[in-house]
Amino acid sequence: MTTIIRITLKGIFRDRVFQGIMVTAGAFLLIPVIASLSMRQVTELSLTLSLSLISFILLLLSVFLGGTSLWKDIERRYTFSVLGLPISRQSYMLGRFGGVALFVLLAAAVLGAAAFAVVTYSSALYPPDRPIVWSTMAICILFDAMKYILLIAVAFLFSTVSTSFFLPVFGTIATFLAGGVTQQVYEFVNSPASKALSPFVKLLATGLYYILPNFGAFDLKVNAIYGLPLPANGLFLSVAYFVVYVGLLLSVAAAIFARREMR
């Protein structure tokens, strides 16, 4: 499996994905200029922009790498030659997932370093009212990466049942959007404002709330931007949720992939 992980990482680098990220990361250079337009919170704005840029790049990476990795192998018939080797389909798939996930972590680390540099620069020019909590910022980026690794697992699950890249790519984007609002929808359904809704819709919304991934838990941007304290208990629960949910998705994906017919 480690060999597959290594090959996956090599493949990603060979496709010049990393160079692509670096070009996009050039946008970091503009952040101090844009942030200086703010009236009262230049540092906060540069943090907002940096974290959003990281999140956006990681989203693209997880959707496209996660959604196309398996599909490309099947399309190019790599799977035939690889699966002829003494390696189980499950560990092949997990290796592919591991490679993409590791790349996203690496990208988050590199982009995170760039964000640290940008925010340091902005805060030196316009000292903020509140001190920046660097550890919160690091945890925020780590949780962002975790969120997108979870999304990669979703993309892999879609890949195992799909014959084209449409379902993995669009399915993943849809899951990302839905996973971001489940908490709001759930709160609305359980509030007095939703009296007019039919019980069936409420039941459906509640069911989806428990089934769909909940990305809201991994969004710590407000805490990082305004230096708000992080709830230790909540962080622990979120990590546990991440581990269990990714495990669940990968188990289902591995079971489907093992039975899949490949022609």
Binding site: M39, S55, V181, Q184
Partner: protein
């Protein structure tokens, strides 16, 4: 091969011929930053996914660019009344997306009070912000000023200033808390407030706004002091501002930067025909 080269050359010539009128057209296109229509905040929240803070910040910047454009136009003697309703709507949307966004509160406070006279709305917004920005002394400082100066609710003002004083640890707010218990020295307090706002401002459009208002209030204060001196010497209140100037109590004559005329009310209160706002702003609903 020949065909490719010749078609390439034709395209290049056409490009050169086109690029000048094309860029001229774009350069001359009037720059209007419109506030436009912004979908409901609930919809924005869903679409913004994990970029709520970014969307909030971009809404605030949009309002700021729009306002900056208008200030520039006013410099060139083109009076366009600002669309305060849309500005307020966008800023309210921004704080629903990111209740910690200070720029939104700060900017809303800037125009909701002096220009639109929606003091209750301004203080409701500040109260909402105080629930989140629990460390920030600016919000109660603003709310205290609104309560006392505009709404004449001195009890509320004292409460807000008390909180601002506790949060900032500075004596200014505590001093104001005490002074606002009585209805005197309003002009001087407006000067203190405006100086604090003007000092921290980096945005040129807003800074200019504060400077103008500050100049107007300093002129008012000068007349008030002259009135006091007049009363001490003559034992009666002066009838007009001109009287103060002619009899040597006020020199040079006061000038309202908003283009109005200062006059005295029967009780000696100094007011101006401009009401501390440019003419074009007055008629905005």
């Amino acid at each position: 091969m020949m065909r490719t080269v010749s078609s390439g050359i034709v395209c290049l010539i056409l490009y050169v011929a086109l690029i000048i009128p094309f860029t001229t057209y774009l350069k001359n296109k009037p720059f209007v930053e419109k506030l436009g229509y912004v979908p409901s905040v609930t919809a924005l929240k869903a679409v913004a996914a994990d970029h709520k803070e970014l969307v909030a910040a971009s809404l605030v910047l949009k309002v700021l660019m729009y306002f900056g454009g208008l200030v520039e136009k006013a410099d060139n003697q083109v009076a366009v009344p600002p669309d305060y309703i849309s500005m307020s709507r966008l800023l309210h949307g921004a704080v629903k997306l990111d209740p910690y966004n200070m720029d939104a509160y700060y900017f809303a406070q800037g125009f909701l009070t002096w220009d639109v006279k929606q003091f209750k709305l301004a203080n409701d917004l500040l109260d909402y912000g105080m629930k989140y920005r629990t460390w920030d002394w600016y919000l109660p400082f603003f709310a205290g000023f609104n309560s006392a100066y505009f709404m004449k609710d001195y009890a509320a003002a004292a409460r807000y200033y008390q909180r601002a004083g506790e949060l900032s640890g500075s004596d200014l707010s505590k001093l104001l808390a005490g002074r606002y218990m009585q209805e005197s020295g309003q002009t001087e307090l407006a000067i203190v407030y405006l100086s604090a706002m003007e000092n921290g401002e980096r945005n040129p459009a807003l800074k200019k706004n504060y400077q103008l208002r500050l100049t107007a209030f300093r002129e008012t204060r000068r007349i008030e002091l002259a009135c006091d001196r007049y009363r001490e010497t003559r034992g009666v209140l002066p009838k007009t501002v001109e009287q103060l100037v002619i009899e040597g109590f006020l020199s040079p004559p006061p000038k309202d930067p908003y283009g109005g005329q200062f006059y005295l009310e029967a009780d000696g209160k100094v007011v101006t025909t401009s009401k501390y706002a440019f003419k074009n702003v007055k008629n905005v609903k």
